[in-house]
Structures are given as structure tokens and as C-alpha cells.
């Protein structure tokens, strides 16, 4: 077997050195009561050729561009990834190493992550960002737990326009803690309604998503005022960080924690994972931060170098008192994001964001012409909600058969929103594709 280098002689001589007669003998300490009764019932080993055929067939049964035009966003975005990023990320010095516990032999990963932390902090307008978490959903859960730790309070208010999956993960994380999660309703303009906050006491955090699940851009300024009035932390979350190529950063508007999903920056959608949990906060809270941190230092010759630092927050030192249980994070996705941000640059980021927004606005306008309605007035980025006439159900199925996925039905997540769809348009959707969609819908 090509992954197993041992020859018969190797095994024999090693067993002899150990003083065992057989490989089975090595497992003498395993009581019979623990042993398998039958051999592994697995298919015979696949050769690489047959393996590629088998897995290739599965991959072939998936609806992806260019064959399909998929207008789905809702937490996973189809952005173009340059070949340079994929190539660099595939260099095995990055992919086959592990957490840089031994800094002298891991400077590549460490500098790359230090640069990632810096670019994320700059993007979000925060002081410090960590080395990554699993995804946007667990990042929000960690943020709210952190707010509870920081404020020593146990109520959190969560906008109902935060990604439904993110809110469910928060529920799961908070289920057993006794902390209370209050949901805030939304206004008719597609933004969060903060009024309900009035009556809430001992608020640890207010969490809003911007752009929110409807694609609408929230009023973070106001959210910050409301939250800070109650001496609660403002947590701004996001599923589409590209929006901050245009928008004011969360930090510049008073966010205490900014966290969310970073997949848009060079991470393949990959059916939802691995993703990239981005997490940033103010320096004053750094010792409450979950996850790993890379810091700059010097070696004994005074040369610049990088190390994992502030480990006293972490599980391997603090055990049950750690700020989080995270160990393995999503480092390689963070490096991908750094490579992608480095390739874009400030100029490219701004233009790419504008291109997303403008293409989405184009489709929005064209859809209105077909008689669809725009239920929410608040400005949007590259996602928006549309209400189609009841006849659309049939159209939807027809479009699927034509290789078009015209957005996400919102009814499942918001029962009141029958006939409402969430559509996403990124830079890779061409005007021609959108015109074709509009034509299909109109016909």
C-alpha cells in the first residue's frame, strides 16, 4: 500500500527489537471485551484511478457554475478565486504543518497569520483580531460568551435579522449555560427594531448583523448608542465581509466586537465548510479573546520573529477556565483570506465591492420591472429580498430545470414572508446571465 512504507523485513526486525512475535501481540493490553468481533467491513482498497472515478462521479452530480447560475448567498458567496491564491495555498509547507507551537520552525505560518490578523483588524476597524475560529456562527456564539464574561451579565439581545443558522448555533451554545437570549424584531424597512431593548435589564451584549440576513445595511451607529447606554457591548456580525470594502467599518461606528464569516475572501464555498470565523475586538478586551493569537517578538540575536502568544487564555493552559475550548482552528482558511486580501489591495477591494453592489442593484431594478416587489427599503449590498407574485412557485421549479437557482425561499426561516426570496449577485454573475433570468421570469 503506497501510504504504508513498512516491508515484511522491517516489521519483523522491529518486532524483534521490541520483543514481540506478531503485530497482534502489540495489543496485549487490550482486553478481549474491547475487541472487535469481526474484521472491518469496508470495500477493498481503491486504487487512485478508481478512486478518482468514484469521487469524480459524485462531484459531477452537483450544480455549480458555469453550468448553473446560482443566485444563492445567505452565508456562502461565489467569488472568483485567482489561480495564484489556490497555487500558493496548495504549497505543502503551509498545508501539511500544524499549529506553530515551535516558532523557529514555523515562521511561514506565523508571519502569514500575523499579517492576516492585521488585515482583518484594518478591515473591521478594530484593534486586534485572532488567528481564526471555525465559522461565522461559532464566532458569534464565542462573541456573546465573551461579552458575558466581560460584563459579568447574563442576558444577550440578538437581532432577528442575524443569519438564522448563526442564531441557532448561539442557542445551542447557550442552551446549557442559563444565559438568556432575547430576539429583537425587525422594522418594515428591513432593519432591526431596537425599541424592545428598553425594558431589558443587565444586558451583556447587543448583536446585529450588517449587512443583515435580508442584505440590508444596519444602522450600527444607533445600535452602538443603544447598547452603550445600557453599558452592554455591541457585537457586529457579518456573513459578507466584502461589504466593508464600501461600508463604514464596525469599529469606526462603535462596535466592541466584530465577528463573522470570512469565506468570501478566497475560501472555496465547499458546500459550507471549511469556513473562516473572523473575530476582532478592542485591545482592552484582548485577554478575554477566544482563540489563538500571533504576536511579534525578537530572537536572541534581536531579529524580528513571530510566536503564538497570550496562551494563558487557552484550554491547554487554563483548561476549564479557558476563554474558549477551541484548539484546532481554521488557520489555512485564514491564510487563504490573507493571500486574497493581499492580492486585492485597498484599490481592488473597493472596486470589487462596488462591482458586487452595482450588479446586485442592476438585477434588483430589472426584477422590479417584471412586477416583483421590493418589500424592504433599507439600502443593500450584494443581497436583497424580493417578493414575487404567487405564480412564482411554478417559475421557480422551471428555472431549476433550466440550471438557474433564483435565490432562497425565506418562508422557511420567516413564516410571515411567503413568496419572499433572498437573492445574491456577486462579481461573477454577468449582465447577460441576469438578463436571461429576468427574461425567464417575465415569460
Amino acid at each position: 500500500m503506497r501510504y504504508l512504507p513498512h516491508t515484511e523485513e522491517d516489521i519483523a526486525s522491529m518486532l524483534q527489537a521490541i520483543g514481540e512475535k506478531s503485530l497482534e501481540g502489540l495489543f496485549a493490553t487490550v482486553p478481549d471485551s474491547c475487541r472487535r468481533e469481526r474484521a472491518l467491513e469496508l470495500p477493498e482498497p481503491f486504487g487512485e484511478f478508481e478512486l478518482c472515478e468514484r469521487v469524480g462521479n459524485l462531484a459531477g452530480r452537483m450544480a455549480v457554475s458555469p453550468k448553473y447560475s446560482v443566485y444563492l448567498g445567505a452565508g456562502s458567496y461565489e467569488h472568483f478565486i485567482p489561480a495564484s491564491v489556490s497555487y500558493l495555498l496548495g504549497r505543502s509547507e503551509f498545508s501539511t504543518s500544524y499549529t506553530p507551537y515551535q516558532p523557529e520552525i514555523s515562521q511561514g505560518t506565523l508571519q502569514a497569520i500575523y499579517e492576516y490578523q492585521t488585515l482583518v483588524a484594518r478591515l473591521l476597524g478594530m484593534d486586534v483580531a485572532n488567528a481564526s475560529l471555525y465559522d461565522g456562527a461559532s464566532a458569534l456564539a464565542e462573541a456573546l460568551s465573551m461579552a458575558v464574561r466581560v460584563t459579568k451579565r447574563d442576558k444577550v439581545a440578538v437581532s432577528s435579522l442575524i443569519h438564522p443558522a448563526y442564531r441557532r448555533v448561539v442557542q445551542t451554545y447557550f442552551e446549557t449555560t442559563g444565559h438568556e437570549v432575547v430576539q429583537l424584531p425587525y422594522l418594515s424597512n428591513g432593519r432591526t427594531d431596537f425599541s424592545k431593548l428598553e425594558e431589558i435589564q443587565d444586558l451583556a451584549a447587543l448583536a446585529v448583523q450588517s449587512p443583515n440576513f435580508f442584505g440590508c445595511i444596519e444602522d450600527i451607529q444607533t445600535a452602538a448608542e443603544v447598547a452603550h447606554q445600557k453599558r452592554a457591548l455591541l457585537v457586529v456580525t457579518f456573513s459578507e465581509p466584502l461589504a466593508y470594502g464600501l461600508l463604514k467599518s464596525p469599529g469606526s461606528q462603535g462596535a466592541d466586537i466584530a465577528c463573522g464569516e470570512g469565506q468570501s475572501f478566497g475560501v472555496p464555498q465547499s458546500f459550507g465548510g471549511p469556513a473562516l470565523g473572523m473575530f476582532a475586538t478592542k485591545m482592552e478586551y484582548v485577554r478575554n479573546l477566544p482563540g489563538r493569537l500571533v504576536g511579534q517578538t525578537t530572537d536572541i540575536d534581536g531579529n524580528r520573529g513571530f510566536v503564538l502568544t497570550l496562551a494563558t487564555r487557552e484550554q491547554h493552559i487554563r483548561r476549564e477556565k479557558a476563554t474558549s475550548n477551541i484548539c484546532t482552528n481554521n488557520s489555512l482558511c485564514a491564510v487563504a483570506a490573507a493571500m486574497y486580501m493581499a492580492s486585492l489591495g485597498a484599490t481592488g477591494l473597493r472596486e470589487l465591492a462596488a462591482l458586487n453592489r452595482d450588479k446586485a442593484e442592476y438585477l434588483k431594478r430589472r426584477l422590479m420591472e417584471t412586477g416583483a416587489e421590493k418589500p424592504f427599503e433599507a439600502p443593500t449590498f450584494n443581497e436583497f429580498v424580493v417578493k414575487f407574485p404567487n405564480s412564482f412557485e411554478a417559475t421557480y421549479e422551471r428555472l431549476l430545470n433550466k440550471g438557474i437557482v433564483p435565490g432562497l425561499r425565506l418562508e422557511r426561516h420567516y413564516p410571515e414572508l411567503t413568496g419572499h426570496y433572498l437573492l445574491c449577485v456577486t462579481e461573477i454573475r454577468t449582465k447577460a446571465e441576469m438578463d436571461a433570468l429576468v427574461k425567464e421570469i417575465a415569460s
Binding site: 521490541i18 487490550v30 472491518l40 469496508l42 481503491f46 443569519h163 458546500f271 517578538t297 477551541i326 484548539c327
Partner: protein, 484 residues
């Protein structure tokens, strides 16, 4: 030091990203603008973040140079204990990046994503077969999240039984994530000592286990690399008191095809696909930490779950007792593809992999005991744990020895863990290291022990061959510089 892989050669310095670049350069092209600019509300418009503008060649050289400062499994032997740094097959990378997978949206209507759903469904069955458990969820994004998920399942199970429990038994040898995960769901970890053989004695569990206790978290093989021989007995004790048994299966690489985790009395188990099942470690991740449960805990698994209905695969949310979601979508699907490819490539030879992993570890244990102090001199599983006890005479620490090991061209083992062994050196060679490599590693450790006696300064000033010398971690923590 001749005959060993470590040497020095030309590598390239490289500044920080923002120390290079000039405004107006571009490292990637954008798709053609085929729509007009739409007006954007002034009050929402921010100032662009301070990203440097670099050309494509700038970016390519930056990361090519950085990569050469790194040591990976493809560079050489990486016996990092508890991390199972086995070879990561290249074909798995190719398959995970097939457009059908890498470009797939997670919310595609089910009839448009049958390939991914089928793969997830089949992988769950394969993992159930390998572990001896009944049902599996691939949703946890890494081992620690698998632990949390498992704890939440146990919590939900007790709740369904109307039993309130506040404690959980955690051995002193447990990985830090165990108590941390338990704490998140409100359990107070109660520490239990392993016995002089380095394993849990049934008696000590019997003493602690009561109706207040939700159960126990065992790692098997434990972090000393020893099989918990009394696990069946322990499980019985825990079950008798209405508790549940959680097994940290991160070390499953020792037991495939040999142990039936179900039979050992385990109720919930997590796996690390990025260890046992060859997922690349990515400089720290991503991982994947599926949870496997016995039949009666299946209702509590995270949703959605992949179901099969006469040949068609669906995602079902219809599990009222489920703990809910721990990931926005279905976990690290990309890692699942690699694990699936790996299991199909190995088939029943997964057992051979475990046997050879254990063979390598025991071989190292036998060859190095005497050179290094072996805390528990008994047959080990996939890894063995030494300490720096014999070197303290020369004022040489574990840290000194492993820094020196870099100069010899090996990645250091895990050090100072498990905590029960002072100055621990935890060596996990994995099955993909040939006897020649293992012998070289053994010779290197012996040479270093010799140097520790003859010329300790060599070790204290190590490493000398890496791009940087020993780094000042103290001042890094004292005045943190976390962004540039």
C-alpha cells in the same frame, strides 16, 4: 551531526505585506464591469481599509518565501504527539478541489447536490463501521467542537430523563479541550488521577461516580499513549449510576480494526478526521470532529441530518430532541471529502495502519528508554511519553532538547503535555514513517542526549539552523504586538 537531514541553505528574507507595495498596483483582475455604477448612500460609505496594493508577482514571491520558512509533513518527520501527523495523500487534495465540491453552495436544493449528500451519508456509515458506533454527525468543525457537541448530547439525554447533573469526571491525563468543553455546557469537571500504570483504576471512578455526575470523559488510548484497560468496568460503574461515557477518540489511529468502541461501553465518541483520517493540518486547521453515538443517543445529534429515501438523499431537520446546530452549515465538508477518499483508499488496511502506528511507537519506546526517562515502562499504543528527568543533571530541559532536534532536521515532538509527566516529551511517529526515518530520529535523540552531557551549551543555544534563533516568548506576552 552528519548523516542527519538537517542542514542550511539559501532562503529569502521577506518583509511584512504592508512594508511593500505601492498604491495602484494590483495582484488580481476583476471580472469585467458590464453594469453601470449605482449611486451609493454617502452616509454609509467608509474609507477603504489600509491594505497594501501589490502586483501578482509580489504576492507570489511573498508567500513562496514564507512557505520555505515552514516545516511540514512533506518536509520531514513530524512526530508531534497527540496530533497524528501522518502523510496527507495528494490525490485527496485534488478530489476536494474538484469544482463540483469546491464551488458548491450549501443551500442548493437537494436534487442539485446529491453528490455531496451521498458522500456525507456514506462517510457517516464508514465511520460508524470503523468505530463500532451506531450513528454519526459530521457537523462539528474540529475535535473540541466534537467534544462540546458530545457533552451537549449527554446533557440533553439527562434532561430527557429528567435528571439534573452538575459534574463530569475528567482524568488528569485529559487534553485541555476536555475540561474546557465540559465547562461550556455548565459541567464542573472533577479531576481523577490515573494509577501508577498510567491508566484509570475502576476503584477511583467508583469513588467519584454518583447521581450528581453526568458521566466521564475518557481519552482512549489516553494521552500517555496507554490503552485504558479497565474501560469496560469503568463504563459499567458509570452506567450503573445513570451516567454516560464520553470517549475522546482523537487517538483512534491506534485502534482501527482492533477495538470496538461500542463494546467498551462508550455512549458518545468524537473523531478527528484531520488526524486519524489523513486530513492535512493546514498550519493549525481546518479540522473536522464528527461525533459518533450509540442508537439511544441518536435523537440528540445535531441537525440537519443526511437521510436516504429510495436512492435520493435529503437533509432532515425533523429531530425534535436534537441539540440543534453547532455549525452554520454541515461542518468541514472539504475535510470530509479527504477522509472519505482516505478510507476508500485504505479499506480494511486501516487495521494495518493502526498496527504499524503502534509498531513504530513501541519501537521508539524500546530504543530510546535509557536514553530518555520513560515514565511508564509498559506496552504503548500509537505514542510514547518520555521526560527530561535524566537530563536535568546537566541543567538541560525538554525545551533545549527539542530545539536542538530542529537543527538535526526533525520537527519536535509535543512537549510538556500530558501535564502528569513533568517535562514530558510525547512522541507519535504515525504509520507513514519508514523504519529508516524512525531509526534516524532515534539516532538524533541519542546524539542529542550525548550532547546534553558533553556539550550542553549546544542545546541551550539551539536552534542555529532555522531562519530565526530562539524567540523571546515572554516579552511577546508581556507587551503584546498583535497587529502591524
Amino acid at each position: 551531526m552528519t548523516g542527519f537531514p538537517g542542514t542550511t541553505g539559501l532562503i529569502l528574507n521577506e518583509p511584512l505585506l504592508w512594508e511593500k507595495g505601492k498604491q495602484g498596483r494590483s495582484g488580481m483582475s476583476l471580472p469585467h464591469r458590464d453594469v453601470n455604477r449605482a449611486p451609493f448612500p454617502e452616509e454609509l460609505l467608509g474609507t477603504p481599509p489600509e491594505f497594501p496594493d501589490l502586483s501578482e508577482v509580489d504576492v507570489v514571491r511573498h508567500y513562496t518565501r514564507l512557505s520555505q520558512w515552514n516545516f511540514g509533513v512533506d518536509t520531514g518527520m513530524y512526530p508531534l504527539g497527540s496530533c497524528t501527523m501522518k502523510y496527507n495523500p495528494k490525490v485527496n487534495e485534488k478530489l476536494a478541489s474538484l469544482p463540483g465540491f469546491s464551488k458548491a453552495h450549501p443551500l442548493l436544493p437537494h436534487q442539485l447536490c446529491q453528490g455531496a449528500l451521498a458522500l456525507m451519508f456514506e462517510l457517516e456509515r464508514l465511520l460508524a463501521e470503523v468505530t463500532g458506533m451506531d450513528a454519526v454527525s459530521l457537523q462539528p468543525a474540529a475535535g473540541a467542537q466534537g467534544e462540546l457537541t458530545g457533552m451537549l448530547i449527554i446533557h440533553a439525554c439527562h434532561k430527557s430523563r429528567k435528571s439534573q447533573r452538575s459534574k463530569i469526571i475528567v482524568p488528569d491525563t485529559a487534553h485541555g479541550t476536555n475540561p474546557a468543553s465540559a465547562a461550556i455546557c455548565g459541567y464542573r469537571p472533577v479531576k481523577v488521577k490515573s494509577n501508577e500504570q498510567g491508566v484509570l483504576a475502576a476503584e477511583s471512578i467508583a469513588e467519584l461516580m454518583d447521581e450528581e455526575t453526568a458521566g466521564i470523559m475518557v481519552t482512549n488510548p489516553n494521552t500517555l499513549g496507554l490503552f485504558e484497560e479497565h474501560i469496560s468496568e469503568i463504563s459499567r460503574i458509570v452506567h450503573d449510576k445513570g451516567g454516560l461515557v464520553y470517549c475522546d477518540g482523537a487517538n483512534m489511529n491506534a485502534l482501527m480494526g482492533i477495538v470496538d468502541m461500542g463494546k467498551t461501553g462508550v455512549d458518545v465518541l468524537h473523531l478527528n478526521l484531520h488526524k486519524t483520517f489523513s486530513g492535512p493540518h493546514g498550519g493549525g486547521g481546518p479540522g473536522s470532529g464528527p461525533v459518533c453515538v450509540k442508537k439511544d443517543l441518536e435523537p440528540f445529534l445535531p441537525v440537519p441530518r443526511v437521510m436516504e429515501q429510495d436512492g435520493t438523499y435529503l437533509l432532515s431537520e425533523d429531530f425534535p430532541e436534537s441539540i440543534g446546530k453547532v455549525h452554520a452549515f454541515y461542518g468541514s465538508f472539504g475535510v470530509s471529502v479527504r477522509a472519505y477518499a482516505y478510507i476508500l483508499s485504505m479499506g480494511p488496511e486501516l487495521k494495518t495502519a493502526s498496527q504499524l502506528a503502534v509498531l513504530n511507537a513501541n519501537y521508539i519506546k524500546e530504543q530510546l528508554k535509557g536514553t530518555l526517562h520513560l515514565e511508564y515502562d509498559r506496552p504503548c499504543m500509537h505514542e510514547c511519553v518520555f521526560s527530561d528527568k535524566l537530563q536535568r543533571a546537566h541543567k538541560i530541559t525538554t525545551l533545549d532538547m527539542v530545539k536542538r532536534l530542529m537543527d538535526y532536521g526533525f520537527h519536535p515532538p509535543t512537549i510538556y503535555f500530558p501535564l502528569v509527566v513533568e517535562g514530558a516529551i510525547m512522541i507519535e511517529p504515525t504509520e507513514t514513517e519508514s523504519k529508516e526515518n524512525v531509526d534516524l530520529f532515534i539516532d538524533a535523540m541519542k546524539a542529542i542526549a550525548e550532547e546534553a552531557a558533553q556539550n550542553p551549551e549546544l542545546l541551550r543555544s539551539a536552534p542555529t539552523r532555522c531562519k530565526v534563533r530562539r524567540l523571546d516568548e515572554t516579552s511577546a506576552a508581556r507587551n503584546p504586538c498583535l497587529t502591524g
